[in-house]
């Protein structure tokens, strides 16, 4: 039977590194998605995701199970991403090239050429529109979209109320809808 996250955390607190390895295998892709959504740069996102798990490992003994493991790990990921964003003022062209690489790789598997062009336009403009949002609005939309987290969980991760999550999501969606209306 598969162990729960909390059981794995307890094993890890008892010194079993393999339990932490299992937690990393469960969450590394989702954590990477959250960070990529915030940073937009693949290599930076990979680096921050690895740093997230490293810090989680170092602090695992302070995790008491008051919240779920995924809200805890997402909170660490969001905090490091925001710090990384402040420290690394990248040239916008770097982001553009990184995300172009991501979009190109995805379009290689598309089949219908017309749908391909439409999808590509939407994806490109969605990436730009997301980037125009403030970090707070970006974080709520990314967390909600990736994992379908509840407003309560998102509030716990970002340290704000459910009402704030609700209003930020409403504002962010309205902005995206307005900017992407020609491509939807």
């Amino acid at each position: 039977m598969e162990l729960t996250d909390w059981e794995l955390v307890q094993k890890c607190q008892a010194g079993e590194t393999s339990a932490f390895q299992e937690l990393v295998s469960r969450y590394h892709q989702k954590v990477f998605m959250v960070i990529l959504g915030l940073l937009r740069h693949r290599e930076d996102a990979l680096e921050v995701a690895q740093e997230t798990f490293f810090r989680a490992y170092r602090k695992i003994n302070s995790f008491q199970g008051g919240s779920s493991f995924y809200t805890w790990i997402y909170r660490i990921a969001v905090n490091i991403s925001i710090d990384a964003q402040r420290r690394q003022k990248r040239n916008p062209l770097d982001f553009r090239e990184s995300m172009d690489g991501v979009l190109d790789a995805q379009n290689e598997v598309a089949r219908d050429p017309f749908a391909d062009v439409q999808d590509r336009e939407l994806r490109e403009n969605l990436v730009k529109a997301i980037n125009d949002l403030t970090p707070e609005h970006k974080a709520v939309i990314v967390l909600r979209t990736i994992d379908g987290l509840s407003y309560k969980d998102i509030g716990e991760i970002l340290g704000c109320s459910e009402g704030t999550v609700m209003s930020r999501l409403h504002y962010a969606r309205k902005k995206l809808q307005d900017k992407l209306s020609a491509f939807l």
Binding site: V24, Q50, F53, R58, T145, S150, S181
Partner: protein
Amino acid sequence: MTGCENIRESIGRWLDGELSPAESEAAREHVLACAGCAETRRQLEKIDTTLKSVLAAEAARVEFTPFWREVQSRVNRKRAWYADLLDWSRGLLAAPRVAWAVPTVIALLLGLFSLDSYWSGWRFGGSRNSFAAVDSIDAHGRSVALLRENETKTTVIWLYDDQEVEHETAEEASKSGPAF
């Protein structure tokens, strides 16, 4: 607000499953009957699925083994002492701790400053009867002097001509000879 405006305000919460069962049912019925709101729903769902697919496709390329190897190497790497100190100080300044520390420091300072109200022997920041400041500032050729007396909280401000400065300026001008 009209029915459509109401629904469009809450359509995101409906799609997120954050409305009550009764509100959800009302939203569902409205969207089924209203082409405009159905279009709003379609657009919001399209944004969600597109963003998810962009990020998921990229995440699928992240292989676990090299990822884990890098995490493991960080765990095994000996960290510099200042990195540990930085982590420790970050924890110390974390919001929940600062939340109680700030009012505590303010309360202590207020207590310290108001001690002389309760304890006549206590003096904080010097004698109460002394003049606190005598200062002069050049103000367009004139000087300003401030005197503040602490016990009665009286502040005297006056302007006066600085004769010495005027004399010095005149002497310098005569030494340097005629100006062109």
